[in-house]
């Protein structure tokens, strides 16, 4: 069993309106140094047989939307 972590993030050019709200909340808590917050997703997969090609296919076909998102992944165990 291999654990793969897929990180999906909104493309930098797109406004992350939820992230902006979180940044505002952090600033209100006194963390004045926070300039920007962007929210992404972490998707953890457990696969019986790891193949980089297949994880890439999973990302392309479902886990990320190439129109709005970027992704990267890493094997953790």
């Amino acid at each position: 069993m291999t654990t793969v972590r897929v990180y999906v993030t909104l493309k930098p050019a797109l406004l992350d309106s939820a992230g902006r709200t979180v940044a505002g909340a952090l600033q209100k808590l006194g963390f004045a140094e926070v300039q920007e917050t962007r929210i992404g997703k972490l998707i953890e997969l457990k696969v019986s047989d790891y193949s980089e090609e297949k994880v890439k296919a999973m990302c392309d076909q479902l886990l990320a939307n190439p129109v709005i998102e970027n992704y990267r992944f890493e094997v953790v165990a």
């Binding site: 406004l15 309106s17 939820a18 902006r20 479902l62 886990l63 939307n65 129109v67 709005i68």
Partner: protein, 221 residues
């Protein structure tokens, strides 16, 4: 003339759509469960609003991979009418039948109100005859239409912007886009709900401007 109203787990405008199509547009309409694999006997498809699959992963992402969507894709490619309203629009984008995507509204809030729309394209099945601003309600949290500049240029050049919001842009959509068409013009995706505006008792009957496109098909058939 029979319209397939596709039901996904979490669809919630399916009953409104079926009712509006039967009672107000005056065409046949039947539900089709997302696990079906055939649209035999149907002349058009309505992808209703709601929160299919709980909006898991991304709005419309799971629904766009449901078994019936292969058939909807073939249906659209044959030039038959397909309309997706709200979550239906998100599903069409996720399925790649329409370009771009819908993101969280710029102001982050769910917005539920009547909006005024201008038909930009005036020649498609869905927009022909919309020669005045129409009033149709929106109800969404994730209706900010985005696409890259190249796609936007193509949408404009090929007259594929079906509707634009008039006045205030309610969600921050690029270029005020409320609905777009595929290249052939038979597939329409829009955030407003035409099925909720089919009689004056509901506040507006302007949704019929859009849905009556289906009766034109019936006449031709």
């Amino acid at each position: 003339m029979k319209v397939a109203v596709i039901r996904f787990p979490g669809s919630n405008c399916d009953q409104d759509a079926l009712f509006a199509l039967r009672e107000d547009v005056g065409v046949g309409a039947e539900y089709v469960w997302h696990e079906e694999r055939s649209l035999a006997g149907f002349d058009a498809v309505f992808l209703p609003g709601g929160f299919s699959y709980g909006d898991y992963l991304r709005c419309g992402a799971m629904a766009s991979r449901a078994p019936i969507m292969e058939e909807v894709r073939a249906f659209a490619e044959h030039g038959k009418p397909v309309i997706g309203a709200c979550n239906g629009f998100q599903i069409l984008c996720e399925a790649g039948l329409l370009p771009g995507a819908l993101l969280l509204n710029e102001h982050e809030k769910f917005v539920c109100k009547y909006v005024s729309l201008e038909a930009v394209n005036r020649t498609s099945l869905w927009t022909r005859g919309v020669d005045r601003p129409i009033q149709i309600p929106i109800a969404h949290g994730e209706g900010r239409y985005v696409c890259d500049e190249e796609t936007l240029a193509e949408l404009k050049a090929k007259d594929r912007i079906a509707f634009r919001y008039l006045g205030e842009n309610p969600n921050g959509s690029v270029d005020g886009i409320a609905g777009i068409l595929n290249e052939r013009g038979n597939v329409l995706g829009l955030m407003p709900h035409p099925e909720r505006a089919t009689k004056s008792l509901l506040g507006s009957a302007d949704g019929l401007f859009v849905l009556n496109g289906l009766t034109r098909i019936a006449v031709q058939a």
